[in-house]
Every structure is written in C-alpha cells, then in structure tokens.
C-alpha cells in the first residue's frame, strides 16, 4: 500500500521548481551531483556456468536522485555549520600565545613560563582570507568570519530537514 500520494519524480520536480526561483546556484549544484550518476556492478551470463561481473556508470533513479538532492542541501546548510561549530569548540579549548620570540632574535621564555599565554575556554575569532596575497587586482575584500549559528536556530533547521527526509523516504 503506498505511503505517499506523490511519486519520487513529483517530489523532485516540486523541490527543483521551488529552488529554481529562489536559489538557482544551489539548484545547479544539485543537478550537477545528480548528473554525475553512480557506479554499479552488473552481471552478464557468458555461458551456462560462467557469470561475468563488470562495473558500469548509470543514472540515479528518481528516488535516489531525490536523496542526492537532499544530501547537497544537507552539506551546505547543516554540515558546513557543523564544521565551523567543531572548529570553534577546539579553538576555545586552547590558549593564545604571542609570536615566537626567537624569530626576532630573542629567547622563547614565554613558552616555558606561560606568563604571556591566555584565552583558554574563551571563544576565538577565526577568519578565512578571501583575497590571498597573490591576487593582482586587490579589491580589499574583508576576510570571512567563521560564525556559529545559534543552537536553537540550528536545531530547528535540522528538524525541518529531518521532516523533509521522512517525507521523501519511499522505502
């Protein structure tokens, strides 16, 4: 007995239709991931006793394509935030120190005394450089700060995502 009043194809079309209007770049990524297809092992009976096995690239089924599309959404919306959250946690747990003195000819006393070390259990500001040194025409683009979302917001987003996964599970 069917558990959905729609097919995987209809679900995919609906998702793509919504994405096309508002998030074309994300849609392009979904299509790219789906069009990459998948590897399967095929079997071919070559004689009465022998079966030959070989690898083949084939397109996803509609149901699998739906799963791939959701995986793309998950990677960008949830997984990247988890990376940032994890990095922020690890950075919080360690100390900050000045540059090594020996590089400017001094000793490395601050290492042994730890007198100039600080910041453990305090959040650190982490940035990604957007305009590297080698860029010819500099536009003075600011670095991007790795900001963690609020816990409540992320939980709510994950709940929406989980609901969408359930509604697109045809197994």
């Amino acid at each position: 007995m069917p558990t959905h009043d729609y097919t995987p194809r209809q679900a995919l079309d609906l998702l793509f239709g919504k994405m096309a209007d508002r998030f074309p770049e994300l849609l392009r990524r979904m299509e790219h991931a789906i069009d990459a297809g998948k590897d399967v092992q095929e079997e071919e009976v070559t004689s009465r006793r022998r079966v030959r096995s070989f690898r083949k690239n084939v397109p996803y089924t509609d149901e699998e394509a739906l799963g791939v599309a959701l995986a793309v959404l998950r990677a960008h919306l949830i997984e990247t935030r988890k990376f940032i959250e994890s990095a922020a946690t690890e950075f919080t747990r360690v100390d900050v120190a000045p540059p090594k003195r020996r590089e400017s000819g001094g000793d490395d006393a601050e290492d042994s005394s730890r007198s100039r070390v600080y910041g453990r259990n305090e959040p650190k500001k982490v940035e990604i450089e957007v305009e590297p040194e080698t860029v010819l025409e500099k536009r003075d683009l600011p670095n991007v700060s790795l900001m963690t979302g609020t816990g409540l917001e992320m939980k709510s987003l994950e709940a929406f995502f989980h609901q969408l996964q359930e509604l697109t599970d045809f197994a």
Binding site: H4, F83, P99, K100, K125, E129, S156, F160, L164
Partner: protein, 224 residues
C-alpha cells in the same frame, strides 16, 4: 499517507527558515577552508588528548583573529597575521599549519591543506624566508569538502604529492566529508595515504579514528 501539500509545506519551511539557504551565502572557497579549519581543530584535539596544550600563534602578533590562508602561501609570509599552532611533546617541538607550501623531493612545491611539521624547520624558514623542506613534515592531510560523491582524480593527485614528500613523512591522510565506493580500495596499498572518508561531525566515529591515528603516531615518534 503523506500528501504533496505536506511536502510543499516542508520544502517551503526549510527554504524560508532563518538559518536556511537565504541566510547562507554559498562561497565555495570559504566552505573548503571551513573544512580545513575543522581538520585543523581535530589536530588540536589529538594533541590535547596526549595531555599537551597546544598554543595558537600568529606570524607577526597574537592571532586575534586567527586567520586561515585563502590560498597556498609561504610559511614566512607576513602579508597577513596568518595563524598556526605550536606544541611540545616529550621535548619534540611541532607546529600545525594550514595552506603552507613545502618543497618536495623533486624540487617542486606543494601546498598541504593541513600539516604537522617540525618546529625547528618552521622557525628557520620564518627567520630566513624560505619554503620548508618536505623532510620537515610529520603529517600531511588533504581536505576536500564535497556536496556529492568524491571525484577519483583528487585521490590520485594526493597520492602523487605524498610520493614527492619523501619517506620522512610519518602520516598522510585524505580527508573528506564524502566518500567514493572505489577510493577505499585505491588507498589500501601500504604506502598510500590513510582514507579519512566521511570525516565529518555527523560521523563521530570517523573523528575518533582521525584523532586516534594522529595521537598514536605522535606518541610513537616522540617516545623516549
């Protein structure tokens, strides 16, 4: 029975969510670097698990903020106050870097997404600007954030890079949040990098494996 109207409401809810795609600018290079920052953080965790406290440093001043390079760069570059970490284990000094270039055994330079290297070489190359030699690398990790199954050529390229790093490298790993069903086989031969596939906070067992492999090797190398 799930209805199409319910599905539409769920999709609309996700797309309009305050933390949904509308609030998230998809800048691919930044996503890649966020993944490197994550792996860098796992290296810090591995060091802490050995009872050592790593220190965050900047090349010219205290790392506030801690800046990750946006592209391959030199360890001595002072274009920005790039961040790195340092630690001492059993009297061996190490540094953790991201996006730094090394000279391979062939003379060709290679960028390592994340690496642990011997601190003496790093200090020498900052004091007398130069690219560090591959012999100074303790561990090297390639970091690939993907939103779809991995492409095989990425693994092939890293295997070639690791080969050019020479035999002093104790650890090499290919890290990705994704996998590919042929890659585990490809990485099986003894001298190939460790496949840290599905290394993501969504798979805590993979994180534990990464941290365990690094801390065990550090312990082994620095044992009296």
């Amino acid at each position: 029975m799930a209805t199409l109207a319910e599905l539409e409401t769920a999709i609309d809810g996700l797309l309009a969510h305050p933390a949904g795609p509308g609030s998230y600018s998809l800048v691919r290079p930044v996503e890649d670097k966020a993944y490197e920052a994550y792996v860098f953080g796992l290296c810090l965790r591995a060091v802490r698990e050995l009872g050592v406290n790593p220190l965050l440093r900047g090349i010219t001043a205290a790392p506030t903020p801690f800046i990750f390079r946006g592209g391959p760069g030199q360890i001595h570059s002072q274009y920005r106050n790039y961040g790195y970490a340092s630690f001492t284990l059993n009297n061996h000094e190490f540094e953790v870097h991201a996006g730094v270039e090394f000279v391979g055994s062939s003379g060709m330079t290679h960028e390592l997404d994340v690496c642990v290297m011997r601190a003496a070489d790093a200090q020498r190359c900052r004091a007398n600007p130069d690219d560090p030699p591959c012999a100074s690398v303790f561990g090297a990790w390639e970091c690939k954030f993907y939103d779809q199954p991995l492409q095989k050529h990425l693994a092939r390229a890293f295997v070639g890079l690791v080969d050019d790093l020479g035999s002093n490298v104790r650890l090499a790993g290919f890290c990705s949040n994704q996998t590919h069903n042929q890659l585990r086989d490809y990485f099986q031969p003894q001298r190939r990098p460790y496949p840290h596939l599905l290394l993501t906070p969504l798979e805590p067992a993979s994180e534990t494996r990464f941290v365990g492999v690094l801390s065990a090797e550090l312990k082994k190398m620095t044992a009296a």
